[in-house]
Amino acid sequence: MTASERILVTSHGHPHFNYGGGEIPAYNLFRAYREHPAVEDSFFLASCDRGRGANGAISPRGHNEYLWEQTVADWFRMTVAHEESLHRELADLIRAIRPTLVHAHHYAHMGLEYLQAIRRADPGIRIIMTLHEYIAICANSGQMVKAGSTRLCHRESLDDCRRCFPDRTAEDFWLRKHRFLSYFNLVDRFVAPSDFLRRRYVDWGIEPGRIVVIENGQEPRSPLPPRALGPGETRNRFGFFGQITPFKGIDVLLRALAALPRSERRKLVLEINGANLENQPPDFQEYINGLRTPLEREGVLQWNGPYEPFQMSGRLANVDWVVVPSIWWESSPMVIQEAFLHGRPVVGSDIGGMAEKITDGVNGRHVPVGNANAWAQTMSRLAADGDEWERLRGGIKPPLSYSECAQAHLDMLTARREALTA
């Protein structure tokens, strides 16, 4: 295998500054590509706010890593803010690093136009794009949840979308979709981290043959040992990891605990490891705090607050189960892969990416989405049944590693090239 590929990975943020579910896989893939024998070199370009506004400047951040002071001007249409830099800084970078492949991990904070700018700089460059959520399909932050509510949205259409945004016309949504699809035409292959997400994009308009499922990769490691139990203790500690937003379903968990009889409740412990509650709407904060206080007083709830990546293993070691109670579809929640990597079964909502990534009865359990009573019963039952925990833990298969993920992408390209030449 000759090291012929030169790969530029683009991302809507650098994980050094934005530790998110899209930025981390993008960055890790950039590093995994670099190690791959078929890759001559790889580069990373991330949008970044350096406090000077979107001036279009590109500056280095470590070896082969660049920050781009770019953002989006119109989030509805996803237009670039600093258009001139597409033809200067970005074009210069492309000419200098001469990529054979651009692996775009997003267009948020960069705008859709950079795909065309890359094509323009060198029409021979192949472009693949990983889709992280449903932004192209759904103007409501890509959640596919009805705007201003927590109702799940099952389909996109001009008239459905207009109802979520009464200020917009059906024509506005046609234009939005036309713009996304037109720029998406520049992409050779799409990657979906879950089959659920892939199907949503196929329904929306991406030809099935142009989109494949490749799970996000993880840093390989051996599983944690089971949490040591004290005398009479059960597998009763549940951990939540992630952002605390109205769509992550924290309130469902808190209501579930509150709904249990006190005697049952005291047999459980829920640990919340989450950030950003303070950035949520005031009434949501008030609601969560109102549910939280009595549970903390009883010792049923431990509010651990935010965590840094290096703290993840330590916090996972303290719990038996990881819970993912999101009330939106998710695509491929990173926390599920991390839980499996650490040998912790996962209890999650029975929709979307969660239903897909957790196999009910094999490596975790499904709970009807948003149903606090079902969560109460499930947590009570699981805490009481030690055998179930052992069985589900045994069902966990190690998730895809970074290097396997990189290999899968390169295989996809090779397969396509072979298909094209055949």
């Binding site: 136009e113 065309q116 037109s182």
Partner: protein, 628 residues
């Protein structure tokens, strides 16, 4: 009958429009007048009553008035069988209108009854008789009376002649010489006297000495004749104005408005300036009065759309709008439109090119821009991926709104550079309208064919334009080719146009058959002849375009420019074809959203429809058999 009852009867007769019949038999050829016996004829109008019937009766002629083609003669006689005629041996058109009470005569002559002593005679003025012959019922020979002609009607006589004068005035065309002469005889009275109701609600003055429009209402009860006048002696009768029902006026005067009468009026006044005072006047048998006057006139703007907005603000039932436009609004608007057209022709274009367009293109794509221009990127993205458009076409954006030029040029530069796609921009710095924008684009077009494309019409797949060109060039007789346009939600927006006569509005309208249906319901393999195609996507040859003189610029933000173009082609024996294999999405009317869809928009459409109907009535009737 008491004296007062008899007075009342006289008044009653005087106010009735008719002859009493009492003296009807007198308008006959005089007995014994043949041969012209000796007349007792005073050379001057008599100052004293004349004795007749051997002194038993008296006769007095008080005044004669020329009223148009008639002479009205007022006098009295105690001989109720009196006969009169204008010349011996001639039958003349003379008759007694009525006899009436003359209490003053009865008192002065000490008579018991005043009844029927007075008379009003009417005869043809054409012969200009200077004297009239009277024969008492017991006289063998007539007596002549030299007619005492008066310039002005004596106030005491108005009650007697008023009804006749009113009748004669209303027979003349208001503003004619005869009308003015008759009117000059009529005494002015306060508006309350005539009990006439009417109001001038507004006056709008067209720029460039183009006259103006006055509008309001008048309650045209029997016995009341209205007219409008302005300045010096300039008059039109309400019959010459556009009339329309006014339910509010009817409600204001319950029972007074005659059934089926239209109280509302809108008048075009050709001689009017901002200094003018417009008066609504009325004459009744009581005299003439100014019912309403308005000196605060309102100046209309010189742009046709602005003027139309203000004119169409004057309410009219929509069913009458076309007729009103033909009679009133067009007289103000057409000169403004024509002036615009001349101004457009004299205005040089400004152009900016990004990139170099292909030399001698097959097609120049001309897109007029007004309002939104975010579609530009969408169109270019589709042009770009179409090899035919990329290699064989010139793309011209014609900017019809000065305010957006900077924005469009910035966007054009950005899009042209990002997609490496040459674009031409052209503008004048004025807003001349859709047709002018198309014609402006054609000024700089170098293509063998011209495709006029709305900015919100976006192709769905490559190949559409090449297909249209193939269809156009397949037959010599093909004049225009239109495409299948779909709504963004997928239904058909355009699959050819047909023309339909709308009885309610009395105009022909453009109809889009199959609108909203899924395209597979009307699947067609190839092109079809249709009455017309939409200008949202219309292909024709440069040669035909020049032959018909381009887009007609006489409509105001119309919906008929495209059908007008199609009908012009038809008039030159060129057919319109609908090509279903060329398919685009049309976000219809997104670029015009600023104009709204309210009553103004509808009125404007009806006005344009009226113009379209007038221009093409016969051709339109011939197309109605065709299907689209």
């Amino acid at each position: 009958m008491t004296e007062s009852a008899a007075d009342a009867e006289m008044d009653n007769r005087a106010s009735r429009n008719g002859v009493t019949g009492l003296m009807g038999s007198l308008s006959i050829r005089p007995r014994g007048a043949r041969g012209g016996g000796k007349l007792r004829a005073p050379e001057q109008p008599g100052r004293e009553p004349l004795s007749i019937n051997d002194g038993r009766d008296k006769l007095f002629v008080e005044a004669a008035y020329r009223v148009g083609k008639k002479l009205l003669i007022v006098g009295w006689s105690t001989d109720l069988g009196l006969e009169f005629f204008s010349a011996p041996g001639r039958a003349i058109d003379a008759r007694c209108r009525f006899r009436h009470r003359r209490k003053d005569v009865a008192q002065s002559l000490d008579l018991r009854s005043a009844r029927d002593l007075g008379f009003l005679l009417e005869l043809d003025n054409r012969k200009d008789p200077r004297a009239l012959l009277f024969r008492g019922s017991a006289e063998p020979e007539p007596v002549a009376w030299f007619l005492p002609l008066r310039e002005r009607i004596e106030p005491s006589h108005w009650r007697i002649v008023g009804e006749s004068v009113y009748e004669l005035l209303t027979k003349e065309r208001p503003g004619s010489k005869a009308w003015h002469e008759t009117r000059a005889l009529i005494p002015a009275v306060p508006a309350e006297t005539g009990k006439a109701a009417g109001f001038i609600e507004g006056v709008m003055i067209a720029p460039f000495d183009g006259g103006g429009v006055a509008y309001g209402w008048a309650l045209e009860e029997p016995g009341k004749a209205f007219w409008l006048e302005a300045g010096e002696g300039w008059v039109i009768g309400l019959g010459e104005t556009f009339r329309q029902p006014r339910r509010d006026v009817r409600a204001l005067f319950p029972g007074r408005a005659p059934p089926n009468s239209d109280a509302g009026f809108i008048a075009f006044l050709p001689d009017l300036d901002e200094e003018s005072t417009v008066r609504l006047c009325c004459v009744t048998a009581d005299g003439q009065s100014v019912v309403s006057e308005l000196g605060r006139t309102h100046a209309l703007p010189d742009d046709p759309l602005g003027a139309a907005q203000q004119l169409f603000g004057v309410e009219t039932p929509e069913t009458l709008m076309g007729a009103r436009y033909a009679r009133i609004d067009s007289k103000v608007l057409s000169p403004l439109v024509q002036r615009r057209v001349e101004q457009f022709r004299a205005t040089p274009e400004i152009r900016q090119d990004f990139g170099t367009s292909v030399a001698s293109p097959d097609v120049s794509i001309i897109v007029p821009l007004y309002g939104r221009y975010d579609f530009l990127e969408h169109q270019v993205m589709e042009f770009c991926r179409d090899p035919y458009v990329r290699s064989r076409c010139q793309v011209i954006y014609s900017i019809d709104q000065p305010e957006i030029v900077d924005g469009v040029i910035a966007e054009g530069r950005k899009i042209s550079r990002l997609f490496d796609f040459p674009l031409n921009f052209v503008w004048t710095g004025m807003n001349f309208g859709y047709s002018a924008a198309n014609n402006l684009g054609a000024r700089i077009a170098t293509g063998h064919n011209l495709l006029f494309l709305n900015s919100d019409a976006i192709p769905t797949d490559p190949g559409w334009l090449e297909q249209m060109v193939e269809t156009l060039e397949a037959h010599e007789a093909t004049g225009a080719v239109g495409a299948q346009l779909l709504f963004p939600t997928g239904g058909i927006q355009h699959a050819g146009m047909r023309f339909e006569y709308i009885d309610r509005f009395r105009v022909w309208m453009n109809e889009h058959p199959h609108s909203g249906l899924a395209s597979d319901l009307v699947a067609e393999a190839g092109p079809r002849v249709v009455p017309g195609v939409t200008g949202a996507c219309l292909l024709l040859s440069r040669q035909d375009f020049d032959a018909v003189g381009g887009w007609d610029m006489g409509y105001i933000v119309g919906d008929f420019e495209d059908s007008d173009l199609c009908l012009s082609l038809r008039a030159r024996k060129r057919l319109c074809l609908y090509e279903p294999r060329a398919r685009l999405v049309h976000l219809e009317r997104q670029s015009f959203s600023g104009l709204g869809l309210g009553s103004f928009r509808l009125r404007l459409t009806l006005a344009n429809a009226q113009r379209h109907t007038e221009r093409w009535a016969s051709v339109l009737a011939n197309t109605s058999e065709e299907t689209a």
